[in-house]
Protein backbone atom coordinates (compact mmCIF):
# COMPACT_ATOMS: atom_id res chain seq x y z
CA UNK A 1 0.00 0.00 0.00
CA UNK A 2 1.50 3.33 -1.02
CA UNK A 3 2.07 5.78 1.72
CA UNK A 4 1.50 9.08 0.12
CA UNK A 5 2.45 10.97 3.21
CA UNK A 6 6.03 10.95 4.38
CA UNK A 7 6.65 9.07 7.59
CA UNK A 8 9.37 9.62 10.12
CA UNK A 9 11.37 6.53 10.89
CA UNK A 10 9.68 6.17 14.23
CA UNK A 11 12.40 6.71 16.78
CA UNK A 12 10.75 9.15 19.18
CA UNK A 13 13.59 10.38 21.30
CA UNK A 14 15.81 11.39 18.40
CA UNK A 15 12.99 13.01 16.50
CA UNK A 16 11.89 15.16 19.36
CA UNK A 17 15.19 16.88 19.46
CA UNK A 18 15.57 17.21 15.73
CA UNK A 19 12.05 17.97 14.48
CA UNK A 20 11.83 21.70 13.92
CA UNK A 21 8.13 22.11 13.58
CA UNK A 22 5.58 20.69 15.94
CA UNK A 23 3.06 18.42 14.30
CA UNK A 24 0.16 20.08 16.02
CA UNK A 25 0.06 23.56 17.45
CA UNK A 26 -2.74 24.75 19.67
CA UNK A 27 -2.75 28.52 19.87
CA UNK A 28 -4.95 30.49 22.26
CA UNK A 29 -7.77 28.08 21.77
CA UNK A 30 -11.00 29.18 23.38
CA UNK A 31 -14.43 27.67 23.18
CA UNK A 32 -17.43 29.19 24.82
CA UNK A 33 -20.83 27.68 25.22
CA UNK A 34 -23.00 30.58 26.27
CA UNK A 35 -21.39 31.79 29.46
CA UNK A 36 -19.33 28.69 30.01
CA UNK A 37 -15.70 28.52 28.90
CA UNK A 38 -15.15 24.93 27.93
CA UNK A 39 -11.71 25.86 26.67
CA UNK A 40 -9.93 28.94 27.89
CA UNK A 41 -6.88 30.16 26.04
CA UNK A 42 -5.22 26.80 25.71
CA UNK A 43 -1.71 26.68 24.28
CA UNK A 44 0.54 23.72 23.68
CA UNK A 45 2.42 21.85 21.00
CA UNK A 46 2.49 18.27 19.99
CA UNK A 47 5.67 16.89 18.50
CA UNK A 48 6.05 14.23 15.89
CA UNK A 49 6.54 10.77 17.20
CA UNK A 50 5.63 11.43 20.78
CA UNK A 51 2.85 10.09 22.92
CA UNK A 52 1.20 13.01 24.66
CA UNK A 53 -1.00 12.39 27.64
CA UNK A 54 -3.88 14.75 28.32
CA UNK A 55 -5.31 14.61 31.80
CA UNK A 56 -7.57 16.66 33.98
CA UNK A 57 -10.55 16.29 36.23
CA UNK A 58 -14.01 15.79 34.78
CA UNK A 59 -15.32 18.73 32.86
CA UNK A 60 -11.86 20.05 32.19
CA UNK A 61 -12.55 20.33 28.50
CA UNK A 62 -10.45 17.45 27.26
CA UNK A 63 -13.02 16.00 24.92
CA UNK A 64 -14.03 19.50 23.84
CA UNK A 65 -10.42 20.02 22.88
CA UNK A 66 -10.58 17.01 20.60
CA UNK A 67 -13.90 18.16 19.21
CA UNK A 68 -12.48 21.52 18.30
CA UNK A 69 -9.29 20.10 16.80
CA UNK A 70 -11.23 17.65 14.69
CA UNK A 71 -13.75 20.16 13.49
CA UNK A 72 -16.87 19.05 15.30
CA UNK A 73 -16.99 22.44 16.96
CA UNK A 74 -15.69 25.75 15.75
CA UNK A 75 -13.58 27.49 18.35
CA UNK A 76 -14.72 30.83 19.65
CA UNK A 77 -11.22 32.08 19.09
CA UNK A 78 -7.75 30.74 18.58
CA UNK A 79 -6.10 28.50 16.03
CA UNK A 80 -5.17 24.94 15.41
CA UNK A 81 -2.19 24.34 13.17
CA UNK A 82 -1.32 20.99 11.73
CA UNK A 83 2.05 20.64 10.07
CA UNK A 84 2.23 24.38 9.97
CA UNK A 85 -1.09 24.73 8.21
CA UNK A 86 -4.05 26.45 9.84
CA UNK A 87 -6.83 23.91 10.02
CA UNK A 88 -9.04 25.82 12.41
CA UNK A 89 -12.69 25.20 11.69
CA UNK A 90 -12.13 22.61 8.97
CA UNK A 91 -14.98 20.06 8.94
CA UNK A 92 -14.29 16.57 10.26
CA UNK A 93 -14.02 14.83 6.93
CA UNK A 94 -11.40 17.30 5.82
CA UNK A 95 -9.46 16.91 9.04
CA UNK A 96 -9.37 13.19 8.49
CA UNK A 97 -8.21 13.80 4.97
CA UNK A 98 -5.31 15.84 6.29
CA UNK A 99 -4.21 13.02 8.51
CA UNK A 100 -5.78 13.37 11.92
CA UNK A 101 -7.92 10.60 13.29
CA UNK A 102 -9.63 10.02 16.60
CA UNK A 103 -11.35 7.49 18.74
CA UNK A 104 -14.39 8.25 20.83
CA UNK A 105 -15.04 7.99 24.51
CA UNK A 106 -18.41 6.36 23.98
CA UNK A 107 -18.06 4.04 21.05
CA UNK A 108 -19.23 5.42 17.75
CA UNK A 109 -19.67 2.57 15.32
CA UNK A 110 -21.74 1.36 12.42
CA UNK A 111 -23.91 -0.80 14.62
CA UNK A 112 -25.27 -3.20 12.05
CA UNK A 113 -22.22 -3.48 9.85
CA UNK A 114 -19.60 -6.15 10.34
CA UNK A 115 -16.08 -5.59 11.59
CA UNK A 116 -14.74 -6.25 8.13
CA UNK A 117 -17.14 -3.75 6.59
CA UNK A 118 -15.98 -1.18 9.12
CA UNK A 119 -12.39 -1.55 8.11
CA UNK A 120 -13.19 -1.40 4.45
CA UNK A 121 -15.15 1.80 4.95
CA UNK A 122 -12.44 3.25 7.13
CA UNK A 123 -10.19 3.30 4.09
CA UNK A 124 -12.69 5.43 2.22
CA UNK A 125 -10.16 8.13 1.52
CA UNK A 126 -7.68 5.72 0.08
CA UNK A 127 -9.92 3.68 -2.11
CA UNK A 128 -9.34 5.91 -5.05
CA UNK A 129 -12.22 5.26 -7.27
CA UNK A 130 -13.30 7.65 -9.95
CA UNK A 131 -16.67 9.31 -9.70
CA UNK A 132 -18.33 6.80 -11.96
CA UNK A 133 -16.43 4.05 -10.30
CA UNK A 134 -18.53 4.69 -7.27
CA UNK A 135 -21.53 3.54 -9.15
CA UNK A 136 -20.44 0.59 -11.16
CA UNK A 137 -17.94 -2.13 -10.56
CA UNK A 138 -15.21 -2.29 -13.12
CA UNK A 139 -12.16 -4.50 -13.38
CA UNK A 140 -9.87 -1.77 -12.08
CA UNK A 141 -12.16 -1.44 -9.14
CA UNK A 142 -11.89 -5.07 -8.36
CA UNK A 143 -8.13 -4.95 -8.03
CA UNK A 144 -8.36 -2.01 -5.66
CA UNK A 145 -11.08 -3.76 -3.73
CA UNK A 146 -8.76 -6.67 -3.14
CA UNK A 147 -6.05 -4.36 -1.87
CA UNK A 148 -8.52 -2.69 0.44
CA UNK A 149 -9.70 -5.99 1.80
CA UNK A 150 -6.16 -7.07 2.37
CA UNK A 151 -5.40 -3.97 4.38
CA UNK A 152 -8.64 -4.40 6.28
CA UNK A 153 -7.59 -7.89 7.29
CA UNK A 154 -4.22 -6.57 8.32
CA UNK A 155 -5.85 -4.00 10.59
CA UNK A 156 -8.21 -6.55 12.06
CA UNK A 157 -5.24 -8.69 12.86
CA UNK A 158 -3.39 -5.75 14.36
CA UNK A 159 -6.06 -5.19 16.99
CA UNK A 160 -6.76 -8.85 17.47
CA UNK A 161 -10.29 -9.03 16.16
CA UNK A 162 -9.66 -11.84 13.68
CA UNK A 163 -12.21 -14.11 15.25
CA UNK A 164 -14.90 -11.47 14.99
CA UNK A 165 -14.41 -10.40 11.42
CA UNK A 166 -17.97 -11.07 10.35
CA UNK A 167 -19.69 -10.06 13.52
CA UNK A 168 -21.87 -6.98 13.62
CA UNK A 169 -20.28 -4.20 15.60
CA UNK A 170 -23.28 -3.93 17.85
CA UNK A 171 -22.82 -7.54 18.92
CA UNK A 172 -19.28 -7.09 20.16
CA UNK A 173 -18.38 -6.78 23.77
CA UNK A 174 -17.41 -3.39 25.09
CA UNK A 175 -13.71 -4.08 25.02
CA UNK A 176 -13.74 -5.36 21.46
CA UNK A 177 -15.80 -2.41 20.34
CA UNK A 178 -13.03 -0.28 21.72
CA UNK A 179 -10.47 -2.17 19.64
CA UNK A 180 -12.66 -1.81 16.59
CA UNK A 181 -12.84 1.93 17.11
CA UNK A 182 -9.07 2.08 17.19
CA UNK A 183 -8.73 -0.08 14.10
CA UNK A 184 -11.19 2.09 12.17
CA UNK A 185 -9.30 5.23 13.11
CA UNK A 186 -6.07 3.61 11.94
CA UNK A 187 -7.69 2.64 8.68
CA UNK A 188 -7.75 6.27 7.64
CA UNK A 189 -3.96 6.19 7.63
CA UNK A 190 -3.46 9.08 10.04
CA UNK A 191 -0.29 10.87 11.04
CA UNK A 192 -1.86 11.94 14.28
CA UNK A 193 -4.14 9.76 16.33
CA UNK A 194 -6.20 11.24 19.13
CA UNK A 195 -7.46 8.69 21.61
CA UNK A 196 -10.23 9.53 24.04
CA UNK A 197 -10.15 7.48 27.23
CA UNK A 198 -9.18 4.20 25.58
CA UNK A 199 -8.66 2.48 28.92
CA UNK A 200 -11.89 3.24 30.70
CA UNK A 201 -13.76 0.25 32.09
CA UNK A 202 -11.16 -2.27 31.00
CA UNK A 203 -9.64 -5.09 32.97
CA UNK A 204 -5.97 -4.67 33.95
CA UNK A 205 -4.98 -7.23 31.38
CA UNK A 206 -6.81 -5.43 28.63
CA UNK A 207 -5.28 -2.18 29.81
CA UNK A 208 -1.82 -3.62 29.26
CA UNK A 209 -2.82 -4.89 25.87
CA UNK A 210 -4.12 -1.51 24.77
CA UNK A 211 -1.02 0.23 26.13
CA UNK A 212 1.14 -2.10 24.06
CA UNK A 213 -1.05 -1.40 21.10
CA UNK A 214 -0.57 2.34 21.53
CA UNK A 215 3.18 1.90 21.76
CA UNK A 216 3.17 -0.15 18.61
CA UNK A 217 1.11 2.47 16.85
CA UNK A 218 3.66 5.09 17.78
CA UNK A 219 6.48 2.86 16.68
CA UNK A 220 4.87 2.66 13.29
CA UNK A 221 5.30 6.36 12.95
CA UNK A 222 1.99 7.70 14.13
CA UNK A 223 1.98 10.48 16.69
CA UNK A 224 -0.46 9.84 19.47
CA UNK A 225 -2.35 11.89 22.01
CA UNK A 226 -4.26 10.13 24.76
CA UNK A 227 -6.91 11.50 27.07
CA UNK A 228 -7.05 9.27 30.11
CA UNK A 229 -8.20 9.23 33.69
CA UNK A 230 -6.16 6.18 34.54
CA UNK A 231 -2.97 8.09 35.20
CA UNK A 232 -1.02 5.16 36.50
CA UNK A 233 -1.42 3.35 33.22
CA UNK A 234 -1.05 6.46 31.11
CA UNK A 235 2.23 7.52 32.66
CA UNK A 236 3.71 4.19 31.70
CA UNK A 237 3.65 5.08 28.05
CA UNK A 238 3.43 8.78 27.52
CA UNK A 239 6.41 11.02 26.93
CA UNK A 240 4.85 14.25 28.05
CA UNK A 241 1.66 15.33 29.75
CA UNK A 242 -0.65 18.29 29.43
CA UNK A 243 -3.05 18.99 32.25
CA UNK A 244 -6.33 20.78 31.76
CA UNK A 245 -8.67 22.04 34.41
CA UNK A 246 -11.88 23.95 33.88
CA UNK A 247 -10.90 24.69 30.32
CA UNK A 248 -7.43 26.02 30.96
CA UNK A 249 -4.05 24.39 30.74
CA UNK A 250 -2.57 24.32 34.20
CA UNK A 251 0.55 22.27 33.66
CA UNK A 252 2.71 20.68 31.03
CA UNK A 253 5.78 18.53 31.22
CA UNK A 254 7.17 15.11 31.94
CA UNK A 255 4.92 12.70 33.82
CA UNK A 256 7.18 12.79 36.83
CA UNK A 257 7.05 16.59 37.06
CA UNK A 258 3.35 16.84 36.54
CA UNK A 259 2.59 14.27 39.18
CA UNK A 260 4.25 16.45 41.82
CA UNK A 261 2.82 19.71 40.54
CA UNK A 262 0.82 21.45 43.24
CA UNK A 263 -1.63 23.04 40.86
CA UNK A 264 -2.42 19.67 39.39
CA UNK A 265 -2.96 18.05 42.76
CA UNK A 266 -5.17 20.93 43.78
CA UNK A 267 -7.26 20.60 40.66
CA UNK A 268 -7.91 16.96 41.30
CA UNK A 269 -8.49 17.17 44.99
CA UNK A 270 -10.29 20.43 44.88
CA UNK A 271 -8.51 22.11 47.73
CA UNK A 272 -5.15 23.06 49.15
CA UNK A 273 -2.84 20.18 49.71
CA UNK A 274 -0.05 20.44 52.12
CA UNK A 275 2.51 17.75 51.68
Amino acid sequence: MDDQKKRPSGKPGILKAVSPQPLLEIRNLTKRFGGLFALNDVNFDLHRGEILGIIGPNGAGKTTLYNVITGRYRPTSGNVLFKGRDITGYPPHKIVQMGISRSFQLEVLFTHLTVLQHLVLSQHLHTEVGFLGSFFRTAGNRAREKATEARALELINFVGLDAYMDKAAGDLSHGYQRSLGIAVALGTDPELFLLDEPLSALSPQRVSEILDLIRTIRDRGITVAVIEHNMGALFRICDRVVVLSVGAKIAEGLPGEVKENEEVIKAYLGGDVHA
Binding site: H93, V108, Q117, H124
Partner: protein
Protein backbone atom coordinates in the same frame (compact mmCIF):
# COMPACT_ATOMS: atom_id res chain seq x y z
CA UNK B 1 -20.74 -10.67 0.15
CA UNK B 2 -23.08 -13.47 -0.79
CA UNK B 3 -22.52 -14.22 -4.44
CA UNK B 4 -24.49 -17.42 -4.70
CA UNK B 5 -28.11 -16.59 -4.58
CA UNK B 6 -30.43 -19.52 -4.42
CA UNK B 7 -31.49 -20.76 -7.81
CA UNK B 8 -35.09 -20.42 -6.77
CA UNK B 9 -34.73 -16.69 -6.64
CA UNK B 10 -33.54 -16.50 -10.23
CA UNK B 11 -36.37 -18.74 -11.33
CA UNK B 12 -38.84 -16.61 -9.44
CA UNK B 13 -37.62 -13.41 -11.01
CA UNK B 14 -37.58 -14.90 -14.49
CA UNK B 15 -41.10 -16.20 -14.06
CA UNK B 16 -42.30 -12.82 -12.86
CA UNK B 17 -40.65 -11.09 -15.78
CA UNK B 18 -42.17 -13.50 -18.22
CA UNK B 19 -45.57 -13.02 -16.67
CA UNK B 20 -45.22 -9.27 -16.80
CA UNK B 21 -44.34 -9.32 -20.46
CA UNK B 22 -47.15 -11.65 -21.36
CA UNK B 23 -49.92 -9.91 -19.51
CA UNK B 24 -51.19 -7.87 -22.44
CA UNK B 25 -51.43 -11.06 -24.46
CA UNK B 26 -53.92 -12.47 -22.04
CA UNK B 27 -55.51 -9.48 -20.48
CA UNK B 28 -57.40 -7.56 -23.09
CA UNK B 29 -59.35 -5.32 -20.80
CA UNK B 30 -57.94 -1.81 -21.09
CA UNK B 31 -58.97 -1.21 -17.52
CA UNK B 32 -56.63 -3.81 -16.15
CA UNK B 33 -53.84 -2.69 -18.43
CA UNK B 34 -54.38 0.74 -16.98
CA UNK B 35 -54.07 -0.67 -13.47
CA UNK B 36 -50.77 -2.28 -14.32
CA UNK B 37 -49.45 0.82 -15.97
CA UNK B 38 -50.10 2.77 -12.81
CA UNK B 39 -48.47 -0.02 -10.83
CA UNK B 40 -45.30 0.18 -12.91
CA UNK B 41 -45.15 3.94 -12.49
CA UNK B 42 -45.69 3.79 -8.76
CA UNK B 43 -43.06 1.12 -8.39
CA UNK B 44 -40.53 3.47 -9.96
CA UNK B 45 -41.47 6.22 -7.53
CA UNK B 46 -41.61 4.02 -4.45
CA UNK B 47 -38.37 2.22 -5.21
CA UNK B 48 -36.57 5.47 -5.76
CA UNK B 49 -37.86 6.71 -2.44
CA UNK B 50 -36.49 3.61 -0.84
CA UNK B 51 -33.14 4.29 -2.46
CA UNK B 52 -32.98 7.69 -0.79
CA UNK B 53 -33.87 6.17 2.56
CA UNK B 54 -30.79 3.97 2.52
CA UNK B 55 -28.77 6.92 3.68
CA UNK B 56 -30.91 7.27 6.74
CA UNK B 57 -33.11 10.24 5.98
CA UNK B 58 -36.72 10.28 4.86
CA UNK B 59 -37.66 12.95 2.36
CA UNK B 60 -41.18 14.19 2.03
CA UNK B 61 -40.43 16.15 -1.11
CA UNK B 62 -40.14 13.04 -3.23
CA UNK B 63 -43.65 13.08 -4.61
CA UNK B 64 -43.73 16.82 -5.29
CA UNK B 65 -40.52 16.31 -7.22
CA UNK B 66 -42.19 13.54 -9.17
CA UNK B 67 -44.79 16.15 -9.98
CA UNK B 68 -42.08 18.53 -11.06
CA UNK B 69 -40.86 15.88 -13.44
CA UNK B 70 -44.38 15.59 -14.75
CA UNK B 71 -44.81 19.32 -15.21
CA UNK B 72 -41.44 19.95 -16.82
CA UNK B 73 -41.87 17.06 -19.19
CA UNK B 74 -45.33 18.21 -20.15
CA UNK B 75 -44.14 21.76 -20.63
CA UNK B 76 -41.17 20.76 -22.74
CA UNK B 77 -43.49 18.98 -25.09
CA UNK B 78 -46.44 21.32 -25.04
CA UNK B 79 -44.76 24.69 -24.98
CA UNK B 80 -41.38 23.99 -26.45
CA UNK B 81 -42.50 21.47 -28.99
CA UNK B 82 -39.94 18.87 -28.09
CA UNK B 83 -40.67 15.26 -28.67
CA UNK B 84 -41.46 13.16 -25.66
CA UNK B 85 -38.32 11.18 -26.14
CA UNK B 86 -36.11 14.22 -25.74
CA UNK B 87 -38.36 15.87 -23.19
CA UNK B 88 -38.09 12.93 -20.84
CA UNK B 89 -34.36 13.05 -20.16
CA UNK B 90 -34.46 16.84 -20.11
CA UNK B 91 -37.24 16.79 -17.57
CA UNK B 92 -35.29 14.37 -15.44
CA UNK B 93 -32.21 16.55 -15.52
CA UNK B 94 -34.14 19.75 -14.88
CA UNK B 95 -35.98 18.26 -11.96
CA UNK B 96 -32.76 16.88 -10.55
CA UNK B 97 -31.29 20.37 -10.69
CA UNK B 98 -34.34 21.84 -9.00
CA UNK B 99 -34.13 19.21 -6.29
CA UNK B 100 -30.66 20.43 -5.44
CA UNK B 101 -32.16 23.84 -4.71
CA UNK B 102 -34.83 22.31 -2.56
CA UNK B 103 -32.65 19.95 -0.61
CA UNK B 104 -29.68 22.21 -0.11
CA UNK B 105 -31.20 24.20 2.76
CA UNK B 106 -32.73 21.07 4.23
CA UNK B 107 -29.44 19.25 4.52
CA UNK B 108 -28.48 21.16 7.61
CA UNK B 109 -31.29 19.29 9.33
CA UNK B 110 -31.70 15.63 10.07
CA UNK B 111 -34.34 13.13 11.01
CA UNK B 112 -37.80 14.46 11.62
CA UNK B 113 -36.62 17.97 10.95
CA UNK B 114 -35.34 16.97 7.55
CA UNK B 115 -38.57 15.18 6.83
CA UNK B 116 -40.66 18.24 7.50
CA UNK B 117 -38.35 20.85 6.05
CA UNK B 118 -38.25 18.84 2.84
CA UNK B 119 -42.03 18.74 3.05
CA UNK B 120 -42.15 22.49 3.52
CA UNK B 121 -40.02 23.34 0.52
CA UNK B 122 -41.66 20.70 -1.60
CA UNK B 123 -44.98 22.28 -0.73
CA UNK B 124 -43.75 25.74 -1.67
CA UNK B 125 -42.74 24.33 -5.03
CA UNK B 126 -46.08 22.62 -5.44
CA UNK B 127 -47.95 25.80 -4.59
CA UNK B 128 -46.05 27.52 -7.38
CA UNK B 129 -47.92 25.28 -9.78
CA UNK B 130 -51.17 26.46 -8.27
CA UNK B 131 -50.25 30.09 -8.23
CA UNK B 132 -48.69 30.58 -11.59
CA UNK B 133 -51.28 29.96 -14.25
CA UNK B 134 -48.62 30.64 -16.76
CA UNK B 135 -46.84 28.32 -17.29
CA UNK B 136 -48.15 25.77 -14.87
CA UNK B 137 -51.83 26.10 -15.51
CA UNK B 138 -52.89 26.92 -11.99
CA UNK B 139 -55.26 24.76 -10.00
CA UNK B 140 -56.70 23.24 -13.11
CA UNK B 141 -53.33 22.03 -14.13
CA UNK B 142 -52.13 21.11 -17.56
CA UNK B 143 -54.37 19.20 -19.85
CA UNK B 144 -54.10 18.00 -23.37
CA UNK B 145 -50.61 16.77 -22.83
CA UNK B 146 -49.56 15.05 -25.99
CA UNK B 147 -48.89 11.37 -26.09
CA UNK B 148 -45.38 10.30 -26.88
CA UNK B 149 -44.45 10.45 -30.54
CA UNK B 150 -44.52 7.31 -32.54
CA UNK B 151 -41.47 5.23 -32.01
CA UNK B 152 -39.73 3.83 -35.01
CA UNK B 153 -37.72 0.77 -34.09
CA UNK B 154 -35.68 -1.07 -36.69
CA UNK B 155 -37.66 -4.16 -37.49
CA UNK B 156 -41.05 -3.47 -36.04
CA UNK B 157 -43.67 -1.21 -37.50
CA UNK B 158 -44.05 2.23 -35.96
CA UNK B 159 -45.34 2.07 -32.41
CA UNK B 160 -48.07 4.56 -31.93
CA UNK B 161 -49.08 5.90 -28.58
CA UNK B 162 -52.62 7.01 -28.35
CA UNK B 163 -55.89 6.70 -26.53
CA UNK B 164 -56.95 3.70 -28.52
CA UNK B 165 -54.54 1.08 -27.35
CA UNK B 166 -52.93 0.83 -23.98
CA UNK B 167 -50.53 -1.85 -24.98
CA UNK B 168 -47.67 0.39 -26.14
CA UNK B 169 -47.91 2.31 -22.90
CA UNK B 170 -47.91 -0.89 -20.97
CA UNK B 171 -44.67 -2.05 -22.49
CA UNK B 172 -43.07 1.33 -22.36
CA UNK B 173 -43.73 1.82 -18.67
CA UNK B 174 -42.79 -1.76 -17.97
CA UNK B 175 -39.47 -1.31 -19.70
CA UNK B 176 -38.73 1.94 -17.99
CA UNK B 177 -39.58 0.35 -14.70
CA UNK B 178 -37.29 -2.58 -15.30
CA UNK B 179 -34.44 -0.35 -16.36
CA UNK B 180 -34.98 1.85 -13.32
CA UNK B 181 -35.05 -1.12 -10.99
CA UNK B 182 -31.91 -2.48 -12.53
CA UNK B 183 -30.08 0.80 -12.16
CA UNK B 184 -31.28 1.30 -8.62
CA UNK B 185 -30.21 -2.20 -7.76
CA UNK B 186 -26.76 -1.71 -9.18
CA UNK B 187 -26.38 1.59 -7.42
CA UNK B 188 -27.33 0.06 -4.14
CA UNK B 189 -24.77 -2.67 -4.58
CA UNK B 190 -22.09 -0.25 -5.56
CA UNK B 191 -19.70 1.73 -3.43
CA UNK B 192 -22.28 4.48 -3.21
CA UNK B 193 -24.58 2.02 -1.51
CA UNK B 194 -21.89 1.14 1.01
CA UNK B 195 -21.37 4.81 1.75
CA UNK B 196 -25.12 5.26 2.18
CA UNK B 197 -25.10 2.39 4.68
CA UNK B 198 -22.29 4.03 6.60
CA UNK B 199 -24.04 7.38 6.71
CA UNK B 200 -27.22 5.72 7.87
CA UNK B 201 -25.50 3.76 10.60
CA UNK B 202 -23.49 6.64 11.94
CA UNK B 203 -23.31 10.09 10.52
CA UNK B 204 -20.53 10.90 12.95
CA UNK B 205 -18.28 7.98 12.25
CA UNK B 206 -18.80 8.47 8.52
CA UNK B 207 -17.40 11.93 8.84
CA UNK B 208 -14.45 10.57 10.73
CA UNK B 209 -13.52 8.09 8.06
CA UNK B 210 -13.46 10.95 5.66
CA UNK B 211 -16.85 10.66 4.06
CA UNK B 212 -18.21 14.00 3.03
CA UNK B 213 -21.64 13.26 4.43
CA UNK B 214 -23.70 16.14 3.12
CA UNK B 215 -22.24 15.76 -0.33
CA UNK B 216 -23.13 12.12 -0.56
CA UNK B 217 -26.56 12.67 0.94
CA UNK B 218 -27.24 15.17 -1.80
CA UNK B 219 -26.02 12.81 -4.49
CA UNK B 220 -28.33 10.11 -3.23
CA UNK B 221 -31.27 12.46 -3.00
CA UNK B 222 -30.70 13.75 -6.50
CA UNK B 223 -30.44 10.26 -7.93
CA UNK B 224 -33.66 9.32 -6.18
CA UNK B 225 -35.28 12.45 -7.55
CA UNK B 226 -34.17 11.61 -11.07
CA UNK B 227 -36.11 8.37 -10.96
CA UNK B 228 -39.11 10.03 -9.37
CA UNK B 229 -39.04 12.58 -12.18
CA UNK B 230 -38.94 9.75 -14.68
CA UNK B 231 -42.05 8.35 -13.09
CA UNK B 232 -43.60 11.78 -13.19
CA UNK B 233 -42.93 12.21 -16.86
CA UNK B 234 -44.45 8.84 -17.66
CA UNK B 235 -47.43 9.79 -15.54
CA UNK B 236 -47.92 13.06 -17.37
CA UNK B 237 -47.82 11.63 -20.84
CA UNK B 238 -50.02 8.72 -19.99
CA UNK B 239 -52.73 10.51 -18.08
CA UNK B 240 -52.44 13.59 -20.30
CA UNK B 241 -53.76 15.67 -17.45
CA UNK B 242 -51.88 16.75 -14.39
CA UNK B 243 -53.04 18.92 -11.54
CA UNK B 244 -51.23 20.26 -8.52
CA UNK B 245 -53.41 18.20 -6.25
CA UNK B 246 -52.23 15.03 -7.95
CA UNK B 247 -48.95 15.44 -6.15
CA UNK B 248 -49.99 16.83 -2.82
CA UNK B 249 -48.77 15.29 0.36
CA UNK B 250 -51.60 12.78 0.40
CA UNK B 251 -50.02 10.89 -2.44
CA UNK B 252 -46.71 11.19 -0.66
CA UNK B 253 -48.33 9.50 2.27
CA UNK B 254 -49.61 6.71 0.06
CA UNK B 255 -46.17 6.11 -1.36
CA UNK B 256 -44.72 6.03 2.13
CA UNK B 257 -47.37 3.53 3.16
CA UNK B 258 -46.61 1.32 0.17
CA UNK B 259 -42.97 1.48 1.13
CA UNK B 260 -43.40 0.88 4.82
CA UNK B 261 -45.80 -2.02 4.47
CA UNK B 262 -43.87 -3.52 1.58
CA UNK B 263 -40.72 -3.34 3.59
CA UNK B 264 -37.87 -0.87 3.62
CA UNK B 265 -35.13 -3.38 4.29
CA UNK B 266 -35.28 -5.35 1.10
CA UNK B 267 -34.98 -4.13 -2.42
CA UNK B 268 -38.19 -5.89 -3.45
CA UNK B 269 -40.13 -4.27 -0.64
CA UNK B 270 -41.58 -1.39 -2.63
CA UNK B 271 -42.62 -3.74 -5.42
CA UNK B 272 -44.55 -5.87 -2.99
CA UNK B 273 -46.06 -2.85 -1.30
CA UNK B 274 -47.33 -1.26 -4.48
CA UNK B 275 -48.71 -4.53 -5.79
CA UNK B 276 -50.46 -5.26 -2.54
CA UNK B 277 -52.19 -1.97 -2.17
CA UNK B 278 -53.13 -1.30 -5.76
CA UNK B 279 -54.43 -4.79 -6.41
CA UNK B 280 -56.25 -4.72 -3.11
CA UNK B 281 -57.92 -1.52 -4.11
CA UNK B 282 -59.10 -3.15 -7.27
CA UNK B 283 -60.46 -6.09 -5.40
CA UNK B 284 -62.32 -3.78 -3.12
CA UNK B 285 -63.81 -1.70 -5.91
CA UNK B 286 -67.34 -2.51 -4.80
CA UNK B 287 -66.71 -0.91 -1.47
CA UNK B 288 -64.39 1.76 -2.77
CA UNK B 289 -65.32 4.06 0.03
CA UNK B 290 -63.83 1.76 2.58
CA UNK B 291 -60.55 1.32 0.82
CA UNK B 292 -58.74 3.96 2.82
CA UNK B 293 -60.07 2.32 5.91
CA UNK B 294 -58.54 -0.97 4.97
CA UNK B 295 -55.30 0.75 4.09
CA UNK B 296 -55.28 2.39 7.47
CA UNK B 297 -55.76 -0.85 9.28
CA UNK B 298 -53.12 -2.68 7.27
CA UNK B 299 -50.73 0.09 8.06
CA UNK B 300 -51.53 0.02 11.73
CA UNK B 301 -51.16 -3.72 11.85
CA UNK B 302 -47.85 -3.60 10.04
CA UNK B 303 -46.42 -1.00 12.31
CA UNK B 304 -47.58 -2.89 15.33
CA UNK B 305 -46.43 -6.33 14.35
CA UNK B 306 -43.79 -6.08 11.69
CA UNK B 307 -41.24 -3.36 12.22
Amino acid sequence: MKRNRPKSKYIGISAALLAAFLIPAFVKSPYWLHVFITIWIYIIVTSSLRFTITMGEWSFAHVPLMGMGAYTSALFVKSLGLSFWSALPLAVLTTAAISILIYLPCLSTTGTFFFFSSFAFGEVMRLCWVKFQNPFGGPMGLFDIPYPDSLQLPILPAIKFGPLSKTPFYYMTLLFMLISLLLLYMLERSRLGRIADAIRESNLLSQFVGIRVNGYKMVILVIGTAFAALGGSLYAHYFTLIQPDDFYWGLGVYIIIYLVVGGTQRFEGPIAGVLLFVLLRELLRPIVMYVPLVYGFILAATLAFLP
